[in-house]
């Protein structure tokens, strides 16, 4: 007998919701707000909204879809309050506007990439971020960290390799190739 009532929403359920959706939801909100701190607040608020709704006894058939919907609405509210015109309330990446419908799936891929960067060995991650995020030259990184240019180059290609292979796996997982 599967009774779907708020009584069955226990600690593990909310933890599982977080584990599977927190990072993707943050990436999703980031496409709208472009601010990591603000994004974490917004996503927290949305989990709280869902929790309160369930505690009041409301039925939420698809909790994940509900979370994405409330995150999106909350992001749009933020942008409107900042006085942004309705027609430009769109998700962005570094290249420009992206499709509303793609944003959810992209966020899941990007969350996995974020996790893959987290999992790089510390030195490797540091070198990689200095180069690819901060735009420093190999020589500058080598000098700052007291490494040889060759080591810097190796660390970066190692990191890219990890991310690339990670990404291939992520794609095949999402697209169901295997």
């Amino acid at each position: 007998m599967a009774v779907y009532s708020p009584n069955t929403l226990r600690q593990t359920d909310i933890e599982d919701l977080f584990r599977y959706n927190y990072r993707p939801l943050c990436m999703y909100a980031l496409h709208y707000l472009q601010d990591t701190d603000l994004v974490e607040d917004v996503v927290q608020e949305c989990f709280t909204t869902l929790w309160e709704k369930l505690e009041q006894g409301s039925q939420v058939a698809n909790r994940r879809a509900y979370l994405y919907m409330t995150v999106r609405n909350r992001c749009l509210d933020h942008l409107r309050r900042k006085g942004i015109q309705t027609e430009s309330l769109k998700p962005y990446d570094t290249y420009g506007i992206i499709d509303d419908d793609d944003a959810e799936e992209r966020s899941q891929i990007e969350a996995k990439l974020w996790t893959a960067i987290d999992s790089l060995p510390e030195k490797c991650r540091q070198v990689f971020l200095m180069s690819k995020r901060d735009g420093l030259k190999y020589e500058e990184i080598a000098q700052e960290l007291g490494l040889s240019v060759n080591t810097v180059r190796n660390q970066i290609s190692k990191a890219l390799n990890v991310l690339k292979n990670g990404a291939i796996k992520i794609y095949s997982f999402i697209l169901g190739i295997f």
Binding site: V3, L30, T94, S119, R133, L160
Partner: protein, 267 residues
């Protein structure tokens, strides 16, 4: 990488901050804000839940009337890992199949079987004591694990602080500090200390593996113990560093393969 992968990675990199979007921290923040307390991780049918709540209440009233807090209260974990908060504020994580009973009034006493992680609330006046049948631990406030799941030995691992580990309450023991572990064999008088114990012995509780220049052979041993699968790999002498979340074995394997340029096969 293809163009769309580049777009994804560029976006991630533009915003990437170490320590941001930490799911575990977010869960902590959520619980603190919404008053969700650690509680038994059981999925009960609401009817049974109501019945057992009533039964527990009756038992509670009975115990209270007859003996105050002098009785042992038992908690256990069945098929899944469970977290509880004890009356003194200590958080315990029970591995599947573990049992713990406690008695707390003027003293803080715990008896246990199986594998339990303790995050002990500090109370200088009342040391926290764990009795694992042939192994005894006394602390003031710290984080540690007692693994009494094996028949003939009991292990202790200290994540933070300082603990006393002995055969029994009156016996001479060893002092363990952060990062240290010790094992007492059945019939032995004293535990044997490991100065640098395996940090991944508490991976089940922490939810991640930490490796620091660890030979691939040891990495795979650690993973196979945790996931109950075995591996073969091309070059076992390479060394791995980094922290890996324990929720996705395939991703861990993928990351290790790329980082070390080896091939790993699950069997």
């Amino acid at each position: 990488m293809s163009h769309s992968e580049d777009r994804h990675l560029d976006f991630v990199l533009k915003h990437y901050k170490e320590g941001a979007f930490d799911t575990q921290k977010a869960i902590g923040r959520f619980k603190a804000a919404n008053g969700v307390k650690p509680m038994p991780r059981r999925r009960w049918n609401p009817v049974i839940y109501a019945m057992s709540a009533a039964a527990a209440l009756l038992i509670g009233v009975f115990l209270f009337m007859h003996s105050g807090s002098r009785q042992w209260t038992e908690i256990s974990a069945d098929a899944s890992q469970q977290e509880f908060m004890l009356p003194d504020g200590t958080c315990v994580t029970l591995a599947p199949g573990s049992v713990l009973s406690y008695r707390m009034k003027d003293e803080r006493r715990v008896k246990m079987e199986g594998k339990v992680f303790f995050d002990v609330a500090r109370d200088e006046a009342r040391p926290f004591e764990v009795d694992a049948d042939g192994a005894f631990v006394r602390v003031l406030g710290t984080e540690f694990m007692v693994d009494a799941a094996e028949e003939d030995q009991t292990k202790v691992y200290v994540a933070d602080g300082k603990v006393l580990f002995a055969k029994g309450p009156e016996e001479e023991g060893v002092i363990l500090t952060k990062g240290m572990g010790a094992t007492i064999e059945e019939g032995a008088e004293m535990p044997v200390v490991e100065e640098v114990a395996d940090i991944n012995s508490i991976a089940w509780q922490r939810g991640s593996f930490i490796f620091d220049q660890t030979p691939l052979k040891d990495v795979l041993d650690c993973l196979s113990k945790y996931y109950h699968v075995s591996f073969v790999a091309t070059d076992l002498s390479k060394r791995l560093s980094g922290e890996f979340y324990a929720d996705d074995l395939d991703l861990i394997i993928e990351l290790i393969e790329s980082a070390l340029d080896v091939t790993i096969i699950k069997r």
